[in-house]
């Protein structure tokens, strides 16, 4: 068990490296720099800015395109030099990219995500420190809703198989899967916030602010969990050990809750790992609808502002969470199911 966890943790690092590299390449390959869109700054200032962010490496310039090092070079002149020496320019860019990759990677390893491109007085770490707890609270509320509703509906459907309760739960589940959360969210706001005035429509200041977004985000997962619970329970109820439990004279309630649940939950548990990926993705749109200052909101704002350092950090931090969550799910699966062997 200890060895299994240790090996899995070791296995996380190459995956994280892949995620990091993928988003780094996206960032480097993107046309246009982060300092292009704003009002033009003097060429010298821009060069210094780019040096500070390691988007410009004096060593690479000196080695492959020394003409760029001439003091007082204007942006226009640089463009001309690059056009004339396209080959050398490409090599210089590649060299700079390698340097920047190493610089950013070593910073990431130390947990320093660098400054934000857009808000130069704030570091990416500050954004993540303020956004991550909010998103995690939202995710937690959503998972609670999903488990509560999903397990309940699934159990009822399994116990009352082929009766109206079963059809009603499964129809509702299919509806839950089909209603997009960005339709459900505004509709719930319209009903509970704007018409009934029961719950606040936006922001994140206390428990009553969590109900609508949590439910909206969790509804899809509640639906999937209900279907998985029903399927899992129906599968398990036919097993011999359930017959044994019944033969011992246990009450039906105990048979279901203590014996069948444990086996019937396996599909649900293994579903929770991948579901977390969807939860993070869903929180992008939920945080936008309900104006919640979480990671998803920062991410989409950063992407639209081309604040790539922030966007990249959000991707990597999310990947860390997903991988750890998947690992936890695998361990729990092993604890629940004696047939699972850790290799």
């Amino acid at each position: 068990m200890g060895r299994f966890i240790f090996r899995r943790v070791l296995g996380l690092f190459p995956i994280l490296l892949v995620v990091f590299t993928m988003s780094f390449i996206l960032m480097r390959a993107a046309p246009g720099g982060p300092f292009d869109a704003e009002k033009p700054v003097p060429a010298e200032v821009k060069r210094n800015l780019e040096r500070q962010y390691h988007m410009r490496e004096p060593w690479c310039e000196a080695r492959f395109l020394p003409a760029l090092q001439e003091p007082g070079l204007s942006t226009e002149a640089e463009r001309q030099i690059r056009a004339e020496h396209a080959g050398a320019s490409r090599i210089e860019q590649l060299c700079t990219g390698v340097f920047q990759y190493g610089w950013m990677l070593s910073n990431y390893v130390r947990g320093d995500f660098g400054p934000s491109y857009k808000y130069k007085d704030r570091s990416v770490n500050e954004f993540i420190r303020s956004g991550l707890p909010v998103t995690m609270q939202l995710g937690l509320v959503a998972v609670c809703f999903a488990l509560l509703i999903g397990l309940g509906a699934g159990l009822i459907a399994a116990i009352k198989q082929n009766e109206w309760q079963d059809h009603a739960s499964m129809g509702a589940a299919l509806l839950g899967i089909s209603v997009p959360n960005f339709v459900l969210g505004p509709v719930l706001i319209f009903i509970f916030s704007l018409t009934l005035l029961w719950l606040p429509p936006a922001r994140w200041d206390g428990w009553q602010y969590m109900i609508l977004p949590g439910f909206t985000l969790g509804s899809v997962y509640a639906a999937y969990i209900a279907r998985l619970t029903r399927g899992g329970m129906l599968e398990v109820v036919r097993q011999d050990y359930i017959r044994t439990a019944r033969a011992k004279g246990l009450s039906e309630k105990l048979v279901i809750l203590r014996h069948a649940m444990r086996g019937g939950m396996l599909p649900v548990v293994s579903y929770l790992g991948p579901a977390l990926a969807g939860l993070f993705t869903g929180s992008i749109v939920i945080e936008r609808i309900f104006n919640i200052p979480g990671m998803g909101r920062y991410f989409i704002d950063a992407a639209l502002n081309r604040d790539i350092t922030l966007a990249m950090a959000v991707v990597v931090v999310n990947a860390v969470f997903l991988l750890v969550a998947n690992l936890v799910v695998d361990v729990v699966l092993g604890l629940l199911d004696p047939r699972v062997r850790y290799e």
């Binding site: 046309p31 899967i177 209603v179 319209f190 966007a311």
Partner: protein
């Protein structure tokens, strides 16, 4: 070999009247019969057919264009002239919903086609060759499963332009993983069959065996999962359009219309209601049909 060696065997029993012909039922006929008995699935297929006709041919029968603005008639509720009402710019919402549906359905189909191509090829190759290649390819799929892809897709779309083709490719490229797993599983069990040995013995190459013999025999699960992929991809497209990363105005897609509607719903709830309802109905029908197909084509998978 001379032809006279094999003689047709004389019939064992001479009958004057031909026996009543026994009709065999193929797997597909069987599935079709089961599907037809599932009333909800049939109703879903009907709804889908209607939605497709509504989106493809509907605009010809409505006297407005999707970009024609009429600010004097901004954001009116449903009426005889505008069945779905109008949006903030006075554009007819019915026609915009139809146009949006064209885009959404197109993205759903194309991106699913991309994911189908990648997933089937990947899974079939992995399962067919087996061994170390298989375990390596499946390990890659496991790893890809744990990467938060929508984030990467969003970054990609923001940085490299928001065109329709990009949308197809980006969505297709990230939704083939489950298909690959399903096809691999099918191929693994199918490749032991005699007809594969026969094909190999008669000199069919690897490529021919995979795509002419193995894949057609795995068609059932492939069809089922494809039907279930379409609503997922459409949902993702709507999600991206909702965030402003899909098609750009004045074009419309269902996600974009829902986003506009959500912004205006305080005063004009009809702008959220109609596109949202059509989108939900379509996804619901697709999911129901997918479930029905699964029950019909693969009774063992029935949950």
């Amino acid at each position: 070999m001379s032809t006279d060696v094999i003689q047709p065997r004389p019939p064992l029993l001479e009958v004057d009247e031909p026996l009543e012909e026994i009709e065999g039922t193929s797997l597909w006929q069987d599935a079709w019969r089961r599907l037809r008995k599932n009333r909800m699935a049939v109703a879903s297929a009907g709804i889908l057919l209607f939605v497709v006709l509504f989106c493809v041919f509907g605009p010809w029968f409505v006297g407005y264009s999707f970009e024609e603005q009429n600010l004097a008639y901004g954001a009116q509720g449903a009426s005889g002239a505008h069945w779905f009402g109008t949006d903030l710019h006075g554009r007819d919402l019915l026609v915009r919903t139809m146009y949006g549906g064209r885009i959404s359905l197109l993205v759903g189909l194309c991106a699913t086609a991309v994911s189908l191509t990648i997933g089937v090829s990947y899974g079939a190759i992995s399962g067919y060759f087996g061994g170390r290649l298989d375990s390596m390819m499946m390990r890659i799929v496991d790893i890809l499963y744990t990467i938060p892809f929508m984030f990467v897709v969003i970054l990609f779309l923001v940085l490299f332009g928001r065109s329709l083709v990009m949308l197809f490719v980006a969505l297709g490229a990230v939704s083939w993983l489950t298909m690959a797993r399903i096809v691999r599983g099918q191929v693994l069990s199918l490749k032991q069959s005699e007809f594969i040995d026969a094909a190999r013995a008669s000199g069919v190459g690897h490529f021919g065996i995979i795509f002419r013999h193995l894949v057609p025999n795995a068609l059932g699960p492939i069809i089922v999962y494809t039907t279930l992929t379409i609503p997922r991809v459409m949902l993702e497209e709507a999600f991206l359009s909702y965030l402003g990363l899909g098609v750009q105005p004045p074009m419309a897609s269902w996600g974009l219309l829902v986003s506009d509607g959500a912004n205006a719903m305080t005063f004009f709830p009809h702008m959220l209601l109609f596109p949202g309802a059509v989108l939900t109905l379509t996804l619901f029908a697709l999911n129901f049909l997918g479930d029905g197909l699964r029950d019909a084509l693969d009774p063992r998978m029935r949950s």
